[in-house]
C-alpha cells in the first residue's frame, strides 16, 4: 500500500507500533495509547480499522501485531520520518523538538518527487566534491549566526547600513526605496525573533514588494505580492530586495509562468491573465472600470524611462498605470 492512502493518524498508529516493536516483543493497546497520548478507546477503534485493511492483527485482545503488509508500510513511513528529521536537524539546523514535530507531518504529505529531491539535496551537500567542504558548517556557523560574524562577504554586505548598490544583481534595502519602487525579496537580515513574524506574514524569498507609501515616522506601506501590508522602520531595514531583473535571470531560480504574481512583476512584452484585483478604494474602482476583472487578458507593451509607468494593452485598448498600481493586480503570466 502506498503512503497517503490512509489518514495521517492511521499511518501514525502503524509507525508507533513499528517503533515499539523494535524495543519490545509485543505491543499492548495501552502502550500505543500512552505513546500517542490518546484514550484506549480511540486506539481500539483505529486498530479495528487497520485490522479491516489487513494491516494489523487485532482480535480484541490486549496484544496487537503488524501483518506483513502493515509492517512494510510502517517501515516506509518510519524511514521517511527518520530521514526528514535528520535533514531538518543536520542541514537546516532546526531544533530537535520542532524537527520531530515537522517530520511527523511531512512524512505523510510529502510527494515522492519532492522527497527524492530533498534526498538529492542532502546527497549534494554532503557528497559532491565540487561543493566546497564545510558548506553546511558555514551555513550553520556563519549564515545563520549572520550578525555575529564578519567572515563572510555576503554577511558583511548585509551588515553595512549603506548597502544600496544599483544595477543588476545587487540588493537594496527596502528602507532605501522610494514610493513606487519595488523588488523581489532576497533575504531578511535579522535574528529569528524578527524574521519569524515577517515570514509568517508571507514575506518569503521571491515575494514581490512594492512601496505604496512612506510615512514620515518611517513606516512603510507596501504591497507584498499584491496584498497590502505595513512594516515599521526596523522591519523595512532588514528586508533586502533583488532588482526584478536579477531575480528573473540571475540567481538561478526558475520562474514558472503558472505561478501567480502581480502585474508589476510580469516581464515587458509578456501576456497575462487577470486573477484578482487586490487594490482597493479608488484605484480598484478605476481598474475595474478599465476592465481589470477576473479572466481578462492583456499584455504589457512597454515601460517609461525609469521603468514606470507601464503601458498595458487590455481588452482592445491601451492603458497606462504605475508599477505600484500594477502591484495590486494578481495575474498569471501567459508567455510572449
Amino acid at each position: 500500500m502506498l503512503i497517503g492512502r490512509l489518514t495521517e493518524s492511521l499511518e501514525d498508529y502503524l509507525e508507533i507500533m513499528y517503533r515499539l516493536l523494535q524495543t519490545q516483543k509485543v505491543v499492548r493497546v495501552r502502550d500505543i495509547a500512552r505513546e500517542k497520548d490518546v484514550k484506549t478507546s480511540s486506539v481500539v477503534s483505529a486498530l479495528r480499522r487497520l485490522d479491516k485493511e489487513g494491516l494489523v492483527d487485532y482480535k480484541a485482545r490486549e496484544y496487537v501485531d503488524l501483518t506483513e503488509e502493515g509492517r512494510d508500510l510502517a517501515f516506509r513511513v518510519y524511514q521517511r520520518h527518520t530521514f526528514l528529521k535528520r535533514f531538518l536537524i543536520d542541514f537546516l539546523q532546526v531544533d530537535p523538538a520542532t524537527a520531530e514535530k515537522d517530520a511527523c507531518s511531512m512524512e505523510h504529505a510529502i510527494s515522492l518527487t519532492t522527497l527524492e529531491r530533498i534526498a538529492s539535496m542532502s546527497e549534494f551537500l554532503s557528497c559532491c566534491p565540487e561543493v566546497e567542504r564545510g558548506l553546511v558548517d558555514r551555513f550553520r556557523d556563519r549564515w545563520l549566526a549572520h550578525l555575529n560574524s564578519d567572515s563572510c562577504e555576503c554577511v558583511k554586505a548585509a551588515k553595512d547600513p549603506e548597502v544600496r548598490v544599483h544595477g543588476d544583481g545587487e540588493m537594496q534595502r527596502l528602507s532605501t526605496l522610494r514610493e513606487g519602487e519595488g523588488g523581489v525579496v532576497a533575504r531578511i537580515v535579522a535574528d529569528d525573533e524578527m524574521r519569524q513574524p515577517l515570514i509568517q506574514r508571507g514575506v518569503l524569498p521571491g515575494a514581490s514588494i512594492h512601496v505604496v507609501h512612506r510615512e514620515r515616522n518611517g513606516e512603510f506601506e507596501v504591497r507584498v505580492s499584491g496584498e497590502r501590508m505595513k512594516f515599521d522602520r526596523r522591519q523595512s531595514e532588514t528586508i533586502l530586495l533583488w532588482s526584478r531583473d536579477r531575480w528573473r535571470t540571475g540567481n538561478g531560480v526558475p520562474t514558472d509562468p503558472s505561478v501567480s504574481r502581480t502585474l508589476a512583476d510580469v516581464t515587458v512584452g509578456r501576456a497575462f491573465r487577470v486573477r484578482k484585483v487586490t487594490a482597493d478604494g479608488e484605484i480598484r474602482q478605476r481598474m475595474v472600470e478599465m476592465g481589470f476583472v477576473r479572466g481578462a487578458e492583456g499584455r504589457i507593451l512597454r515601460e517609461a524611462l525609469l521603468r514606470d509607468p507601464l503601458e498595458v494593452e487590455l481588452g482592445g485598448s491601451r492603458l497606462s498605470l504605475r508599477r505600484v498600481e500594477a502591484a495590486g493586480v494578481i495575474v498569471e503570466e501567459l508567455g510572449a
Binding site: Q285, E289, A304, L305, L306, L321
Partner: protein, 751 residues
C-alpha cells in the same frame, strides 16, 4: 414665430392623443410660458468617445457654457428644434463610470439623480464597446431612459468590426444609432429617435440587468430594508441605491446616513450583505458586482459584434507609440513637441500682444489729448485702459496655447506625454498631467492655471495651480533681465539663468512640501486610457479655444479691471495741488507721444517723486518699508512691487515714475545697454548688488499678478486658496530674498 408655436402645440396634442400616459417626459415639465422644453436630453459617455462632437453636431451653434453649481466642471447646454419638439441638451462630463471618486463622476451622477433628464444619450466608441457599455449599464440601472449612440462606426468598420445594432437593441432593450460624430453622420437619425421618443413612439425603457441569484437576493433584502422609510424610498431609486450599497459606494452610504431614518440598520444590513457575497464568491463585493456587469456586457457583445480578421492592417497607434513612447526617445520627442507648441505660440502671440499693447497705448494717448485734463482723464487713461489692455494683452497667448493644447489632446498625444513625464512629477507628489501647466507657465501662468483642468484629482489640481505661478514667466523676465543687466553687467546671462532655474527648483520643492503637509494621503491613480491616435479636427480645436478665450475675457476681465482701477487709485490719490496734477497729466501724455527726453528735468522729477511718495501707494510703501528693509528694499521698490501686482512688468514703469522717468520700449525688452533707469538704480546708494539679487528672487516668487489671482480664484472656485496663494508666495519670496540678501552681503556684494 407664432406658426412654430402652434405647430409645437399641435405636436404635443398629437402625443397626448396617442395616449401614452406612462411617464412621457412632458408631464414632468413645469409649464414655462417663456421657453417651453419638451424633452430634456443629457449627453453622456466615456472620455474619448467623441461625446463633444456628437453634442456639437446636435446643437450646432446654439450652445451656452456655464458651470455646474459649486464646482469648476464646465456645463454646456444647447437647444435643438425639430418637428415642433424643443429639446434642451446638456453635455455631461466624460466619465468611465458613476462611482463617487472624481468630481466629474459626482457631477454626472448628481445631475442624473437630481435633475432627472428625460433621456440620456450615451455616446459609445464602437471600436471598444465592452468598456463603453459599462457606463450605459449604470445609467440603465438608475432607471433613466437611455438611447445608445454607436459613435466612430467608420473606424469600427475599418477595423473589421461588424456591429449588429438591431441585436444589441434587442438584448439591452433600447435602440442604438450608428454615427460618425466629427462628420455629423447619423445625427439626423439620432434627433429623429429623440423626437420619436418625445412623441411616445419609441420606447427607451431598457432591461434591468440581473446580477445572478446570490446578489439579487441580497439586493432584494436591502431594498426591503430601505423601504422601511417611505419618505426616503420615495426620493430615490431603490434598485439603484441597493446595488450601490453592495458596491460600498461612499456617496450612497452618505445618502442613507443623511436621509434614512433607520440609517444605522440599513448600513448594518448592507455590511452584512457584502460580507455574505464576499464569503460566497471569495472576492470583495464591489468586484463581484462589477464582474457580473462585465459578464453581462461580454455576453451582449459576443452576440452582436463580429470580428473579421483584416490582413495587412497596420496598427497605426502601436506604430506611433513604438516611437513616441520609446523609453529613450520618448522624452526627447516630448520636449520637442512642447518646444514646438511653445515656440509657435510665442512667435505668433508676442507680436499680436505687442500690437494690442501698442493699440491701447495709442488709444490712451489719443484720449489723453481729447479729454479735458483732470481726474477723469487720468482714470480713463491710466486706470481703465491700462486695466483692459492688461487683460487683452494675454489674450493671443491664451488663444494660441489652447489651440495647440487641444490639438494635442484630441490627437491622443497628451495622455502619452503624461505617461512620459509621470515618473518625474510623481516623485514630487504630482501627477503626470501636471507637466502641461508647468510647461505653459514658463510663458504665462494665466493659461497655465487654466490648463490645470486636465487634472482630474482635486488635490493634484490645487497643488499644480499653487506652484506653477512660481516659475519665471514672460512678464517677470524683463524685470529680472533689467536688474541683472544693471547690477551684473558682466554676468547678467548667468544670473538670469540662475534665477530661472531657481523658479523651477522652488516650484518642485513647494509641490513636495504641500503634498507632504496640506495634501497628504495616497496618490491619485494613474490608471488611465491611452486613446488611439486620431486626427484632430480644426473645428474642435477652435471651439475649445473659443470657450477658453471667452471664459478668460469674461471672468478675468471684470476682476482685473476692478483691480487696476484700485491700483490706479492708490497711485493717484490723494491728489496734490490741482495744477501740479494737471501738469503731471500733460507730462504723461506728452511722454506717451514719444518725447521722453524732455522730462529729464530735475524739478519735474522731484514733483513726481513727491507725488508718488505722498500717494496712498507711497504711504503703503513707506508703511511696509520696515518689513522690506531686511531684504535691502526701500519704499520706492515697495511701491513698484505693489504696482507689479497689476502685471509684473509694470514694476519697471513704476520705478520709472518714482524716479520721474518714463520708460521706453527698449528697456522693457531688457537691453543690456544702460538706460537712464538702470543708471539711476545703480547710482542710487540705497541699492547694492546684494539687494538687486534679492529683488530678482523676490520678483520671481512674490504674489502672482492679479490676472493669475483672478484665474486661480475662478479655477479653484474658492477664495481660500487664492488667499493662501498670496500669503504663501509672499512668505517664500520674503524668506528667500532675505537669505539671498544676507548671503550676498556675506560674500561682499554689499557695495
Amino acid at each position: 414665430m407664432p406658426d412654430r408655436i402652434r405647430h409645437r402645440r399641435r405636436g404635443i396634442g398629437d402625443r397626448r392623443a396617442a395616449g401614452r400616459g406612462d411617464g412621457g417626459p412632458w408631464w414632468a415639465m413645469p409649464a414655462s410660458p417663456a421657453r417651453k422644453t419638451d424633452l430634456r436630453v443629457a449627453v453622456a459617455g466615456n472620455p474619448n468617445a467623441g461625446k463633444t462632437s456628437i453634442f456639437n453636431a446636435l446643437t450646432g451653434q446654439h450652445q451656452h457654457i456655464g458651470n455646474y453649481p459649486g464646482v469648476t466642471v464646465e456645463k454646456k447646454t444647447g437647444r435643438v428644434q425639430r418637428d415642433g419638439i424643443s429639446m434642451e441638451v446638456v453635455d455631461l462630463p466624460g466619465t468611465y463610470s458613476l462611482s463617487a471618486y472624481s468630481i466629474e463622476e459626482m457631477v454626472a451622477r448628481e445631475f442624473v439623480l437630481k435633475e432627472k433628464p428625460d433621456v440620456i444619450v450615451d455616446v459609445l466608441d464602437s471600436t471598444n464597446l465592452e468598456r463603453h457599455l459599462y457606463l450605459l449599464l449604470q445609467f440603465q440601472e438608475m432607471g433613466i431612459p437611455v438611447l445608445g449612440v454607436l459613435n466612430m462606426s467608420d473606424e469600427a468598420r475599418a477595423m473589421g468590426l461588424e456591429i449588429d445594432d438591431a441585436q444589441l437593441a434587442r438584448i439591452l432593450g433600447i435602440p442604438f444609432v450608428k454615427t460618425v460624430g466629427h462628420r455629423g453622420e447619423g445625427v439626423r437619425e439620432l434627433i429623429d429617435r429623440l423626437v420619436g421618443y418625445a412623441r411616445g413612439q419609441v420606447s427607451l425603457n431598457g432591461r434591468r440587468i440581473n446580477y445572478g441569484r446570490d446578489i439579487e437576493r441580497r439586493r432584494a433584502e436591502l431594498i426591503e430594508e430601505l423601504a422601511t422609510d417611505p419618505v426616503f424610498a420615495e426620493s430615490i431609486n431603490l434598485d439603484w441605491l441597493a446595488i450601490k450599497l453592495l458596491e460600498d459606494d461612499d456617496d450612497a452610504v452618505r445618502k442613507v446616513e443623511r436621509g434614512h431614518e433607520r440609517a444605522a440598520d440599513v448600513l448594518a444590513a448592507a455590511n452584512q450583505a457584502r460580507r455574505r457575497i464576499e464569503r460566497a464568491f471569495d472576492e470583495s463585493a464591489p468586484v463581484v458586482v462589477a464582474e457580473q456587469r462585465y459578464a453581462y456586457i461580454h455576453g451582449a457583445v459576443k452576440e452582436t459584434v463580429r470580428r473579421r480578421e483584416l490582413r495587412n492592417r497596420i496598427d497605426l497607434t502601436e506604430a506611433i507609440d513604438r516611437v513616441v513612447l520609446n523609453r529613450h526617445a520618448g522624452l526627447f520627442i516630448f520636449f520637442a513637441v512642447m518646444f514646438l507648441i511653445y515656440q509657435v505660440t510665442f512667435a505668433l502671440g508676442n507680436p499680436l500682444s505687442d500690437l494690442i499693447d501698442r493699440g491701447f497705448g495709442n488709444l490712451a494717448a489719443y484720449l489723453a489729448g481729447v479729454l479735458p485734463p483732470g481726474i477723469l482723464a487720468d482714470l480713463v487713461v491710466n486706470g481703465i485702459i491700462g486695466g483692459v489692455g492688461g487683460v487683452l494683452v494675454f489674450l493671443p497667448l491664451v488663444v494660441l496655447l489652447f489651440i495647440g493644447l487641444s490639438l494635442l489632446e484630441d490627437s491622443g498625444y497628451m495622455a502619452r506625454a503624461a505617461f512620459v513625464m509621470d515618473r518625474l512629477f510623481h516623485m514630487f507628489g504630482m501627477h503626470g498631467r501636471s507637466f502641461v501647466p508647468f510647461m505653459i507657465a514658463t510663458g504665462c501662468a494665466v493659461p497655465a492655471v487654466m490648463s490645470a483642468r486636465t487634472l482630474v484629482n482635486p488635490r493634484d489640481r490645487i497643488i499644480t495651480v499653487l506652484v506653477t505661478p512660481l516659475l519665471m514667466c514672460g512678464a517677470k523676465s524683463p524685470v529680472i533681465a533689467m536688474l541683472a543687466a544693471a547690477f551684473f553687467p558682466e554676468r547678467s546671462g548667468t544670473i538670469f539663468w540662475l534665477v530661472w532655474l531657481g523658479g523651477w527648483l522652488i516650484a518642485f520643492a513647494a509641490a513636495l512640501v504641500l503634498r507632504n503637509t496640506m495634501f497628504r494621503g495616497e496618490a491619485a491613480p494613474f490608471v488611465m486610457e491611452l486613446p488611439p491616435y486620431r486626427r484632430p479636427t480644426l473645428s474642435g480645436a477652435f471651439t475649445h479655444m473659443w470657450e477658453r478665450a471667452w471664459m478668460y475675457l469674461r471672468k478675468a476681465g471684470t476682476f482685473i479691471l476692478a483691480a487696476s482701477v484700485v491700483i490706479w487709485f492708490l497711485l493717484a490719490f490723494p491728489r496734490p495741488a490741482e495744477e501740479v496734477g494737471a501738469g503731471l497729466d500733460r507730462e504723461r501724455a506728452s511722454a506717451r507721444d514719444g518725447s521722453p527726453a524732455q522730462i529729464e528735468d530735475v524739478a519735474a522729477d522731484a514733483t513726481v517723486s513727491a507725488h508718488v511718495r505722498n500717494s496712498y501707494a507711497g504711504r503703503i510703501g513707506r508703511f511696509i518699508e520696515p518689513v522690506m528693509e531686511p531684504l535691502g528694499f526701500d519704499w520706492k521698490i515697495s511701491v513698484a512691487l505693489l504696482s507689479g501686482f497689476a502685471a509684473k512688468e509694470v514694476f519697471i514703469s513704476t520705478m520709472g515714475i518714482v524716479y520721474g522717468i518714463e520708460e521706453t520700449d527698449a528697456d522693457v525688452e531688457g537691453n543690456s545697454e544702460r538706460t537712464p533707469l538702470k543708471q539711476r538704480l545703480v547710482n542710487d546708494p540705497a541699492y547694492s548688488p546684494a539687494a538687486a539679487l534679492a529683488l530678482m528672487f523676490f520678483v520671481l516668487l512674490y504674489v502672482p499678478c492679479m490676472a493669475v489671482m483672478a484665474v486661480v480664484w475662478k479655477e479653484l472656485g474658492a477664495w481660500r486658496w487664492t488667499l493662501f496663494l498670496a500669503v504663501y508666495t509672499f512668505a517664500i519670496s520674503w524668506a528667500l530674498a532675505f537669505a539671498v540678501y544676507n548671503v550676498s552681503l556675506f560674500f561682499g556684494l554689499g557695495a
